[in-house]
């Protein structure tokens, strides 16, 4: 066993760190890590600017093959990249374009589709959103009903998607539609790509409890989608959602961001005085932060393991451990936000204002983080995966 990185990897990490600091010089005041910053009105301009710079440097899609703008970065290299960017709160790219549809196109797209869509993603010119969830199909995604009917060379789409992150900024949507209504559940679904400017698409904001806008509802009213924008075969869409390539999903970025949060909290607690002594002198504060650091170390160690399983191509192990890492990471973020608010006493509830501590960031996180326990496979779904894939329990739902 060897946790050392090679000298080349360490040099790469240094390069990532330095450039991350450079990129963040122009960050808007109060910049955080969460989606609300990246996709909000204040954040989106900065997010795009950073993506452009990363694209110019050749770092936006490092894990993609060379012919599409990447460098075929290994999992460990991606780990180092995501660790550095996560710590410095750099918006590393459009999770839906770079992280999801790009890899899916690489795995199952036609050459024509790859040529049409991959270069604009790699240049940070085309943004994507994900049309999966519907009002009555959340965790039980396969029960979705948005209908697509083949008419000549087109599909006519009618229905509604929801919880569509960043749809208000996205240029394209990838979506699952029902093409065979006689087939229940995962059979009879087709994977389509649609231009968000298509007539008949309406985007309505879903505002989060903190007043920020990153989710949307997307309505489809007789939307015409050319049949060439179908990914894979008709009624084979479910399988396509499983198609992916080797991109790092250890959760290290979130852990690095959590570590940054602790470092910032430590600095603040050394400054802020209460009853004549700094918060850092309070045993209660010391123990809370000590405990959170212990938990971050545990999360980082698990993320290393997930990355290593992926690096070796051990997908069976990496699948349930990645689920463990996701649920552990988001629930830990919740504990951190809660502890941070508590540490500052009554000031913990104050939003950005002259009374706010640390820009009111933690009360913002406290409101945002419950969403992370739900999106991308809720904590309950992750536990189902751990129980069935990791522990061999029967599936009964």
């Amino acid at each position: 066993m060897d946790y050392k990185f090679t000298p080349e990897q360490l040099a790469l990490r240094k390069e990532f760190e330095e450039y991350a600091l450079e990129l963040m010089k122009d960050a808007p005041p109060g910049w955080g890590t969460s989606l609300e910053f990246q996709y909000s009105e204040i954040g989106w301009g900065f997010t795009r600017k950073v993506h452009k710079k990363l694209a110019e440097k050749g770092w936006l899609v490092r894990h993609w093959p060379k012919e599409y703008g990447g460098v075929n970065a290994s999992i460990v290299d991606q780990l180092l990249f995501n660790m550095a960017m996560g710590y410095h709160r750099v918006p590393t790219g459009d999770a839906f374009g770079i992280g999801m549809i790009g890899p899916t196109l690489l795995a199952v797209g036609t050459e024509e589709q790859k040529q049409e869509h991959l270069p604009p993603i790699a240049r940070a010119e085309r943004y994507w959103c994900q049309g999966w969830s519907e009002p009555n199909a959340g965790s039980d995604l396969a029960s979705l009903v948005t209908r697509a009917v083949r008419v000549g060379d087109e599909y006519i789409v009618n229905g509604q998607k929801t919880w569509t992150t960043n749809a208000h900024n996205a240029d394209w949507i990838f979506m699952l539609t029902r093409t065979n209504p006689d087939e229940k559940r995962s059979r009879g679904l087709t994977f389509l790509l649609a231009d968000m400017k298509s007539p008949g698409i309406t985007v309505r904001p879903l505002v989060g409890m903190n007043g920020e806008h990153f989710f949307n509802e997307v309505y489809f009213d007789d939307v015409h989608v050319p049949a060439r924008n179908r990914l894979g075969e008709e009624n084979d869409g479910w399988r396509i959602t499983r198609a992916t390539m080797n991109f790092e999903r250890s959760g290290i970025g979130a852990m690095a961001g959590a570590r940054r949060g602790i470092d910032d909290l430590v600095a603040a607690c050394k400054e802020i005085k209460q009853n004549g002594r700094t918060l850092a002198d309070s045993p209660f504060v010391r123990h809370r932060l000590g405990q959170l650091m212990i938990e971050i170390d545990a999360g980082v160690a698990l993320a290393y393991r997930v990355a290593w399983s992926q690096e070796k191509g051990d997908f069976l192990q990496s699948a349930h451990l990645a689920s463990a890492s996701k649920v552990y990471g988001t629930e830990l973020s919740q504990r951190i936000a809660n502890a941070a608010c508590q540490i500052f006493g009554m000031y913990g509830q104050v939003a950005k204002s002259r009374w706010a501590v640390m820009d009111g960031r933690w009360q913002g996180d406290y409101q945002f983080i419950p969403g992370t326990n739900i999106y991308a496979g809720s904590s309950e779904i992750q536990r189902n995966i751990i129980a069935t894939a990791g522990l061999g329990m029967p599936r009964t739902w």
């Binding site: 932060l289 405990q291 451990l321 522990l391 329990m393 029967p394 739902w397």
Partner: protein, 377 residues
């Protein structure tokens, strides 16, 4: 980065698991819990024949010359099986400090005896103040001619009642800081003036009170330098924290395995209880604790093995091992239902040891404070 074990390490794990399940079944564990000494000389000799006591002792002292990280694998298996007896005390608390700080003469005297199973060792560090901090070391050692004379009481000394020799931390000077003025001595366990009494503890691990009354130790038995013994203790405590964490990891694995197996067999409402989602999620949580603890323990133990500075990570690893082991065994008992609460059921063997292990080499509160200091708080 390479997070796989070597082939030799995998072989060590397999052979340890086979040996322990055959030679130390739970019936033996229970017999030894109830026995007078908690030690089986027959089992001890078989382990010595396998080379386990000499695993990390260099070949020149009749050992196998393996690394601390290899010992971690062996300890994980011992924890998995719950091996009673003086292995931990002898190897981790006895051999390792002598290996790192002993004179050539001391190494030649003690290490071969440890390797062949002739010597049972331990370390007498903590006192009635019950702290692992240097300030807790108050037992006095005074120079008298060619000897030092020891007076005081040590508490929570593992396996002292059968120890052939123990490394005793004594105060030889009141220094500017509590760390200054501590000296270590290798004391013959049968020395006149030593009185030992086993304390009844939850883990039945034979923690002892050891009273020293005018115990004479030759100066040649000083381990390390006069007044400068604390760094040796601190190093041993880090190694011991990781060694204990490895045992705890093994205990977590066994507890989760036992619980998942039971849940697949136990039928209620006409179906295995493993099919109930509420229990599946309990067990998923157990797995999350286990896997986070496993990987953190390996990472920190690797750093200790490599001799890298890792105070914070060791504290995190032991702190998290404490929480993981208690959580996993508590859920394990719950999922087993009433039978899990009985003296006869194996689940309780692990549940009790989880609390005992928590206290060893720093409970979670202690580790949180270490981490806070390391963070600059």
């Amino acid at each position: 980065m390479n997070l796989d074990f070597t082939e030799e390490q995998e072989m060590l794990r397999t052979s340890a698991r086979d040996f322990l399940s055959t030679e130390c079944p739970k019936t033996t564990v229970r017999e030894l819990e109830e026995s007078e000494t908690g030690h089986s000389p027959e089992l001890w000799q078989k382990m010595a024949d396998l080379g386990w006591m000499g695993l990390v002792i260099p070949e020149e002292y009749d050992g196998m010359g393996m690394e601390f990280f290899d010992l971690i694998i062996l300890l994980e298996e011992m924890g998995r099986n719950i091996l009673p007896g003086p292995f931990f005390a002898t190897v981790v608390l006895g051999a390792l400090p002598i290996l790192s700080a002993g004179t050539e003469e001391q190494k030649k005297e003690f290490l071969p005896k440890i390797a062949c199973g002739e010597a049972v060792m331990t370390m007498a560090l903590t006192e009635p103040s019950a702290t692992y901090e240097a300030s807790g070391v108050q037992l006095k050692a005074e120079a008298q001619g060619d000897n030092f004379v020891l007076n005081g009481t040590k508490l929570f000394v593992e396996m002292a009642h059968i120890a052939d020799a123990m490394i005793v931390a004594a105060r030889t000077k009141t220094g500017a800081s509590p760390e200054e003025g501590i000296t270590l001595f290798i004391v013959d366990g049968k020395s006149p003036g030593i009185k030992t009494e086993v304390m009844p503890t939850i883990g039945a691990d034979r923690l002892c009170e050891v009273v020293f009354e005018n115990v004479s130790v030759p100066k040649s038995r000083m381990l390390g330098e006069l007044d400068k013994g604390w760094p040796i203790v601190a190093r041993t405590l880090e190694q011991a924290a990781m060694a204990k964490s490895a045992e705890m990891l093994g205990g977590c694995e066994a507890s989760l395995d036992m619980t998942t197996e039971y849940s697949k067999e136990r039928v209620q409402y006409g179906r295995p209880i493993a099919s109930f989602q509420v229990l599946q999620h309990y067990m998923a949580n157990m797995l999350i604790y286990l896997e986070t603890a496993r990987n953190l323990i390996y990472e920190a133990a690797w750093m200790v093995s490599e001799g890298m500075p890792c105070t914070q990570l060791v504290a995190s690893a032991k702190g998290w091992a404490n929480e993981a082991y208690k959580f996993v065994t508590e859920r394990g008992v719950q999922i087993h239902g009433a039978i899990g609460t009985t003296r006869d059921h194996d689940m309780g063997l692990y549940y009790r040891r989880a609390l005992a292990a928590d206290f060893a080499f720093g409970n979670t509160d202690y580790q949180r404070e270490v981490v806070a200091k390391e963070l600059g708080l």
